[in-house]
């Protein structure tokens, strides 16, 4: 790992999980941000929704998805662009995701490179790649994920926010 890669904060969910994980007061001293998630949901769907600076809107995505039976691509608009393991997946498995946000402190719209996979030990496992955009010019000071289906992010899920400097 590059020496400029610094863990800003990390969290592991305890018993019962939580509806969302929100990183706030993100320092503005880095060039890029990386959010890494190992996660499972309490409900039988795969999607986190993303929140930037408290906003759930102004997201657009270009996606590639494979799920064990079909593969496809799509241009679409919404904020559920990361996948997690679902509750009925193989026990004790967790999906993995990485969200890379370059120039998060700048004044241009924010691009996001998101890759996420499930670890379900079955034919129905998912790989989901997104080139996304959040149309907001404010510097990112808060970043959150939550279970889109109204349940919780499950116990033992972890999220770590990294800052990356370009020198």
């Amino acid at each position: 790992m590059a020496t400029t890669y610094k863990a800003i904060a990390t969290v592991t969910l305890s018993s019962g999980g939580a509806a969302s994980i929100d990183f706030t007061s993100i320092p503005q001293i880095y060039t890029d941000l990386v959010l890494k998630i190992s996660g499972r949901l309490s409900t039988n769907d795969n999607y986190y929704s993303m929140k930037i600076n408290g906003s759930l809107v102004n997201f657009s995505n270009r996606s590639l998805l494979g799920n064990g039976s079909t593969a496809g691509s799509e241009n679409w608009v919404d904020n559920y662009n990361i996948i997690a393991e679902r509750a009925d997946s193989t026990a004790n498995t967790f999906g993995n995701a990485e969200v890379y946000i370059p120039n998060y402190a700048g004044s241009a719209n924010k691009s996001l490179s998101i890759d996420s996979v499930t670890e379900n030990n079955a034919t129905g496992a998912i790989c989901f790649l997104n080139a996304s955009l959040w149309a907001g010019t404010a510097a990112i000071t808060a970043l959150g994920i939550r279970n889109i289906t109204g349940g919780n992010i499950a116990q033992h899920s972890t999220a770590t926010l990294y800052g990356i400097k370009n020198s």
């Binding site: 904060a9 969302s20 759930l56 889109i148 919780n152 926010l161």
Partner: protein
């Protein structure tokens, strides 16, 4: 009560915060909207599959072989 986990990156302090009534309402509305989107996607996929099967049956009735029908799908 449902809570969220808030991580203050300036202090490193993690706090469990109960959702406000507004946040709960937003969460429920988003879940309903998401379910509607997924139901529409499922219905569209099923309709597409049914149309494909119907078309293949009609082609077979015209005398095309399974190999010839498969070749049309490529």
């Amino acid at each position: 009560m449902t809570h969220k986990l808030v991580v203050d990156c300036s202090t490193g302090v993690t706090t469990e915060v109960e959702l406000t009534a507004e946040e709960i309402a937003q969460r429920e509305a988003d879940a309903v909207a998401f379910a509607a989107i997924k139901a529409a996607e499922k219905a569209a996929a099923e309709a597409k599959a049914e149309a494909k099967a119907s078309a293949e049956a009609k082609l077979a009735a015209l005398g095309l072989t399974a190999e010839e029908i498969a070749a049309l799908n490529k």
